[in-house]
């Protein structure tokens, strides 16, 4: 009886995770060179920016705010930091400028959402349009190649003891975000605002402050990802961030099917990113055609999420 309960509950909470593990096992057994330390480090490197963006979006979702400008915010840092570096700005200053830009974007979004009262979906759609313009204006539309200092490139391409620097950034970001969301009063309040705004307000939570903070965190994580992305590509590309919106949402959504179904959690998002990263990498190593990969990926997501959806009612927004 008790066993039955535990099992049923676990099916709900871990089914997507189980599919992830199964997939990992299947790829390990069937795909040559999948289970090599080199390849696993590749995967870590490939998903690191996505995970960081996803972790930021998780804050937004926890407070029920969606940041549709996140891809362009990634792009902003990915253009601004290289531009400054090429112009000779010292690295620490350029990195700080990137963070400052993220703060500015986050505060702008937060202003329109919490002070003016525009729903985040519209406000960030509009601010995304603004950022798009700014990103391309900054470079006149062209990509920035060359002239980037090695220390900067090291952030995106270097290794420490054979482990990519990016992986450390990713793990650091996940650990930090997890800690803040699960173990601090701040995170608790962000979840409260998203869980029931009226109840939070009547419990003395300063709702506006935490909604605003969730949007700012979202932008800050995005600029970190953007800075690293440009370092990894060795080039600042004004449109390189765009795919991070849909992919970032996918990681959060997949994450919302695990652990605490219906709730965005940092670990869930991390597993969501792993999920996508492992599919992409495994299918690539199998030598599957890109387009068929895309079909297979969609199908795997549907199957994985179907299991949990049958037993739990998921409300994503």
């Amino acid at each position: 009886m008790v066993l039955g309960i535990v099992r049923k509950d676990h099916v709900q909470r871990y089914s997507t995770l189980v599919v992830l593990v199964l997939m990992f096992i299947v790829f390990s057994l069937t795909v040559d060179r999948f289970l090599t330390s080199q390849n696993l480090l590749n995967i870590a490197q490939q998903i690191s920016m996505l995970t960081i963006v996803g972790a930021g979006l998780t804050f937004g979702f926890a407070a029920r705010e969606m940041d549709l400008s996140v891809g362009f915010t990634v792009g902003l840092a990915g253009v601004l930091v290289p531009l400054l570096l090429v112009a000779g700005t010292p690295l620490p200053l350029a990195l700080l400028a990137g963070l400052g830009a993220g703060l500015a974007v986050g505060l702008m979004n937060a202003f329109f959402v919490t002070i003016v009262g525009i729903p985040s979906l519209i406000a960030t759609l509009a601010s995304g349009s603004i950022l798009f313009g700014i990103n391309f204006l900054m470079t006149g539309g062209r990509a920035i190649y060359g002239g980037l200092p090695p220390a900067y490139l090291w952030l995106g391409q270097g290794r420490i003891l054979g482990i990519p620097v990016l992986a450390f950034f990713m793990l650091g970001a996940v650990a930090l975000a997890w800690f803040v969301m699960e173990r601090t009063v701040f995170g608790r309040y962000v979840y409260a605002v998203g869980g029931n705004q009226k109840a939070a307000e009547l419990s003395g939570v300063q709702v506006r402050r935490y909604r605003a903070a969730s949007l700012v965190v979202c932008s800050l994580f995005a600029v970190i990802a953007g800075t690293l992305l440009a370092a990894r590509l060795g080039s600042g590309q004004p449109n390189a961030g765009e795919r991070y919106l849909l992919d970032g949402l996918a990681t959060v959504f997949i994450g919302m099917t695990m652990l605490r179904p219906g709730t965005a959690t940092v670990l869930g998002t991390f597993f969501g990113a792993l999920f996508i990263g492992i599919i992409n990498n495994g299918l690539n190593l199998m030598g599957m055609d890109t387009y068929i990969q895309s079909i297979v990926k969609g199908a795997i997501i549907l199957v994985a999420v179907a299991i949990v959806s049958r037993s739990t009612k998921l409300n994503l927004l």
């Binding site: 173990r183 601090t184 309040y189 869980g195 029931n196 109840a199 419990s203 939570v205 605490r260």
Partner: protein, 503 residues
């Protein structure tokens, strides 16, 4: 024709909500359904109404077994359901809600707006001749009472065989309540059976032809109403004796010279004006009134004064500026609001998280870092204090029954420290709460008052006010009327006071 539920078992993950229940509902009777919070009443009627499918057992209409796989199926069988949580489409107006699914149409597809409006108005005046509701306004803008009326009219629109009313009066003020009683009585003679769930035993006694008692998902008995006294009902429900004792000892008296914990002058909120209001430590003050009299609004605004202004506000002797809830809390005011799922609790959170929502800082290590261990200890202390029935502090809140949810809603103000607040405001504190839990909540209020907290209780349950308050302020037309002292308490004085001046 009768509807018979045979050997119904309902198994939820972790809970057996119904365990082999068999009942017959007739279309010429009012059938009262009672039981503690969590006894399985709503689950049973959800099965009858097609919203839930039983794990085992059958629904029979006459001699025929039927499958009710959706509310639509149930409606086709003549079973209409007014659910416990209000359910109207907020964007549609009253008329559109009443006739949702039954719209007058042209050529089978086009809605005839005029006919719809007229038809809905006719239905309302047919069932509630004395109630006037603006059927042209989106229901989101209507008061709760009007919404309930609309839901009930919607259930009655197709002349069903059985109407399920799941706690219809929990949110209904006196006048509408009275009308609803009349309607309920008038239905069986017209061949419409009523299944009525309520925690007001007097109401059940007064209206029902037969009464079914559920306890822990089991069928205890189904008897003619005359055969059972109120005390016997309590006993059957709770497996405990002494209904009278549950209603509680009369309120103890307070010290007239106790210090003032709250004093406000010239309080304006919306159209409500309160020239002077004060509250002493240890005192329980009841606020009563008809719908729209402003007593709820006033009580809420003391904790959340958005849109309020006043000449002076003094809390525990300290003059205080108005501010958001957080500021009022810091000054010593707490609020246990009505509509707890909307205004107080988070269903998807654990009990522990809900309890620590107001004061998460209590369990922190440093700089806002939570300590799950300390949080757990404190949550358990409060749950024990409040006698919350749950299998652990990590259970999800939404899985709790109404009474236990309400205890969490109160308990979160006691988390961290019980003496943090000098003024506690309770609005409809026993909305949808069973009689056993009611007694416990009253006891808790008295205990708090005993510790020197000043308590304001605003309620439409006059009996409740009578049994816990030291003095009562009736509200009439957006303001307080002459105060009523304990010596003069009675239902009739209350009713005269709240309606008298209005007449």
């Amino acid at each position: 024709m009768d509807v018979h539920l045979a050997d119904i078992v309902m198994q939820f993950p972790g809970t057996r909500a119904l365990d082999g229940v068999s009942v017959t509902f007739r279309n010429n009777e009012v059938h009262g359904l009672i039981g503690e919070n969590g006894a399985g009443k709503s689950t049973l009627v959800n099965i009858l109404g097609g919203s839930l499918q039983p794990s085992q057992g059958q629904v029979m209409i006459g001699d025929k077994a039927v499958r009710l796989s959706s509310p639509h199926d149930a409606l086709l069988q003549g079973i209409a359901h007014v659910s416990q949580e209000g359910s109207l489409v907020p964007g549609l107006n009253g008329a559109e809600n009443i006739l949702l699914g039954h719209e007058p149409k042209l050529a089978g597809i086009v809605i005839r707006k005029g006919a719809l409006q007229r038809h809905a108005a006719e239905l309302v005046s047919q069932w509630f001749p004395k109630v006037s509701i603006d059927l042209n306004r989106p229901v989101a803008e209507l008061p709760m009472a009007d919404r309930k009326v609309i839901e009930i009219v919607r259930a009655l629109r197709g002349s069903p065989r059985i109407v399920i009313l799941d706690e219809p009066t929990a949110t209904l003020p006196a006048r509408e309540k009275e009308q609803l009683w009349q309607i309920i009585r008038s239905l069986p003679p017209q061949g419409v059976g009523v299944v009525l769930i309520s925690h007001f035993l007097s109401e059940i006694k007064a209206l029902s032809d037969r009464i079914t008692v559920l306890r822990d998902g089991r069928h205890i008995c189904s008897e003619p109403a005359e055969a059972l006294s109120e005390d016997q009902l309590v006993e059957l429900m709770l497996r405990r004796t002494g209904g009278a004792q549950l209603r509680g000892a009369a309120a103890s008296t307070t010290q007239a010279d106790a210090p003032l914990v709250l004093d406000v002058r010239d309080w304006h909120v919306g159209a409500v004006h309160v020239p002077h209001f004060s509250l002493r430590a240890g005192e329980i003050v009841g606020l009563i009134g008809l719908t729209g009299a402003g007593h709820f609004g006033f009580a809420r605004s003391l904790h959340n004064p958005a849109g309020a202004r006043c000449q002076t506000l003094t809390i525990a002797g300290k003059p205080t500026e108005l501010g958001p809830p957080r500021k009022m809390q810091d000054a010593g005011i707490a609020l246990v609001p009505d509509h707890r799922m909307e205004y107080a609790l988070i269903g998807e959170w654990t009990l522990r998280e809900n309890l620590s929502m107001v004061h998460p800082n209590h369990g922190t290590i440093a700089g806002g870092i939570l300590s799950p261990r300390r949080e757990e200890t404190e949550a358990r202390r409060v749950m024990k204090l409040m006698n919350v029935k749950a299998h652990s502090s990590r259970q999800l809140l939404r899985e709790l029954s109404g009474g236990n949810k309400q205890k969490i809603s109160i308990g979160k103000w006691l988390y961290g420290a019980s003496d943090r607040y000098r003024v506690m405001i309770f609005i409809e504190p026993t909305e949808g709460v069973d009689i056993g839990a009611k007694a416990e909540i009253y006891a808790e209020m008295r205990r708090l008052a005993g510790q020197g907290v000043g308590i304001i209780i605003a309620s439409s349950d006059l009996l409740e006010i009578e049994s816990v308050a030291h003095r009562v302020i009736p509200f009439v037309r957006q303001g307080p009327g002459p105060e009523i002292h304990a010596a003069d308490f009675s239902e009739s004085t209350f009713i005269t006071a709240i309606s008298g001046a209005a007449a």
